[in-house]
Amino acid sequence: MSDFVAATQALTIAEDWLTPLRERGRSCWQAWSLPTRKTEAWKYTSLSSVLKPDYRFDVSAPSNDVDAQWKIDDLDANVMVFVDGVFSARLSELDERELSVCRFSEADATQQALIESELNAHIDLEQQGFAALNTQTLGEGVLVHVAAAAQPDKALHIVWVSSSPEQATYCSARVLVVVESGAQAQVIEHYVGSPSAEVLTNSVTELVLRDNARLTYYRLHEEAGAANHIGGVHAVLGRAAHLDSFFLTFGSDLKRLDIVVHHRGEGGESYINGVYLPREKQHIDVHTSIEHAVPHCNSNETFRGIVADSARAVFNGRIHIHRDAQKTEAYLSNKNLLTSNKAEVDTKPELEIYADDVRCAHGATVAQLDKEAVHYLKTRGVSQEEALVMLSFGFINELFTDLSIPAVGNYARPKLAALFARESDLTRHLL
């Protein structure tokens, strides 16, 4: 791992208006101690297999060698596609008149000022080493700035694709969404990769919701194989802001996702839902942290996982209710299904409550498929194999039925069904 650090230290800092940000990222990254097994937040996730020294860091031209699909049918969206972190105009479908979206490299003076003031504003770079490294290696980024009271017609679909380069590649992905007062937006961030891609993506997404703003943020991780990911999503909600977020994570060798939601204005409401589905020897680690700093906010968090084969999942759900955050309602549910004796999940709710007039409930379960339900299906003539697929699918599908962008559910369902069935015949009743 120290070789990886040395390799990043040798990188030159690109020179443009973002240079001061990158410099700060570098100093925080260099001062940061890499986590070890003794670091509580990384107790179950070792980085030694992904922090290798031989990554290619300097991707400048987009590769055309892309073997991946990301189109979401029936989704009315502007699509921005990045290949190995580099924007591909050829693969993107962006309405020229869409003013709420720009890349950092094309930002005008006003947009630059916004980026400079908001980027990392709610991230403690000294504690978040990978966000610091992301900032140091900041190449292209996406700014979504929805003007006050605006309601863009289309969703924004941001796709980060890993190609199949000959050399393992390190990529950084950066998204800043600022939804001004009373505005609404829908953003789908989507990670896909060629099956043979060997890549480490380090992503940071910041979601800033001003007073009365509404944001739907869906994040889909479809990278497989050795397309690994360390990512952070940091949301800040103003007064009466509403965040509806969903995280779908398929497995690869290693994925780590940190989701932090700050309630900073009264009357805010957040939904943080998701599923993780590691199999074979894959590893998915999801850490969430909901910070209630002010009174009268609601947070609702539901995560479910199905862990198959000898895969491992880690879920850590922290709820932190500060002393002044009276009348908070915070709910957290994490249910896990193990479909093999070798599968493992480590789930931990973590509550820190300093206010006395709050409602807070949490629960975590780990179980195997319900034998009674399997029997019930079989008494109707359904085979054991199909019953297992249907029940696995149902366990996850429950969370997809209420998505506010149904096109995403329709996109994901066949992939979910296929994941649980080795024979397509077993999914024919689910699509």
Binding site: H375, T379, R380, G381, S383, E398, T401, L430
Partner: protein, 250 residues
């Protein structure tokens, strides 16, 4: 159709069925009554092949096949249907998906062509209407959030779509109000035919006012201790089960 010969079964090493014998011919409706703990529900579970119910003796012939040798799903495909006393909730799988999977499996086994989506939907809607459930129950998760009565009606709907040759109703009447009881009975009566048989397991005589049985059996301590026609049910209702136990033991 179904011949049960000296069936013995255990649950957790405790003998529940102790030499139960029963013969059901095509088109017949048999009611099985009995006190709590007599083994009424166990009979349904054993016949459906539920895990944890161990057969320790006897045999069961169903359409000339050794029923106990078949997997649960094979029994269903051969025409056995069990309406559960406590139907299971399966959130995330819609009733429609579940019914289509079941109907396809059963039809395939019987050498019938699979119903296309349109035809299946039509049949499902009809069955749904027949048991007086709103159409949106087809889209909801299997039994998810259904009331007790709705669950029982959903069982009858499944039975209508699967067209079994032998249906076992395990205390389907328990917890039902009169209206729901009527719906369940209508569903059963509509399916009565010279080829189709029913075993109606119940604690109360009430259901038999609506579904008229050809035979009534009393199950006590794991075996059938008395058989008769429908008048036996009325007698039981009047006198309770205690007199019978005395008669048998005496």
């Amino acid at each position: 159709m179904l011949t049960i010969d000296s069936l013995n079964a255990e649950v957790e090493d405790k003998a529940i069925l102790k030499g139960l014998s029963l013969e059901v011919k095509p088109g017949e409706v048999h009611a099985i009554m009995g006190p709590n703990g007599a083994g009424k529900s166990t009979l349904g579970h054993v016949l459906s092949g539920r895990e944890g119910y161990e057969v320790t003796g006897g045999r069961v012939d169903f359409h000339g096949k050794d029923l106990l040798d078949l997997e649960t799903e094979e029994r269903a495909r051969e025409g056995l249907f069990l309406a559960f006393q406590y139907p299971v909730e399966i959130p995330g799988v819609s009733n429609m998906e579940f019914l289509k999977a079941a109907v396809d499996a059963v039809r395939e086994h019987r050498g019938l062509e699979a119903l296309d989506a349109v035809n299946f939907m039509k049949k499902a809607r009809e069955a749904c209407k027949a048991v007086n459930l709103k159409q949106d129950f087809l889209k909801r998760g299997v039994n998810e959030g259904f009331s007790g009565g709705e669950k029982k009606r959903n069982e009858i709907m499944q039975m209508m779509l699967l067209e079994p040759s032998l249906a076992i109703l395990d205390e389907t009447d328990s917890g039902l109000d009169i209206d729901a009881l009527q719906v369940v009975a209508d569903g059963v009566n509509a399916l009565r035919s010279p080829e189709r048989s029913f075993i109606v397991v119940t604690h109360y005589q009430r259901l038999l006012n609506y579904i008229e049985p050809d035979y009534v059996h009393v199950l006590a301590d794991g075996r059938i201790v008395k058989s008769g026609d429908k008048s036996l049910a009325l007698e039981l209702e009047e006198k309770g089960y205690a007199w019978l136990e005395d008669e048998v033991n005496g």
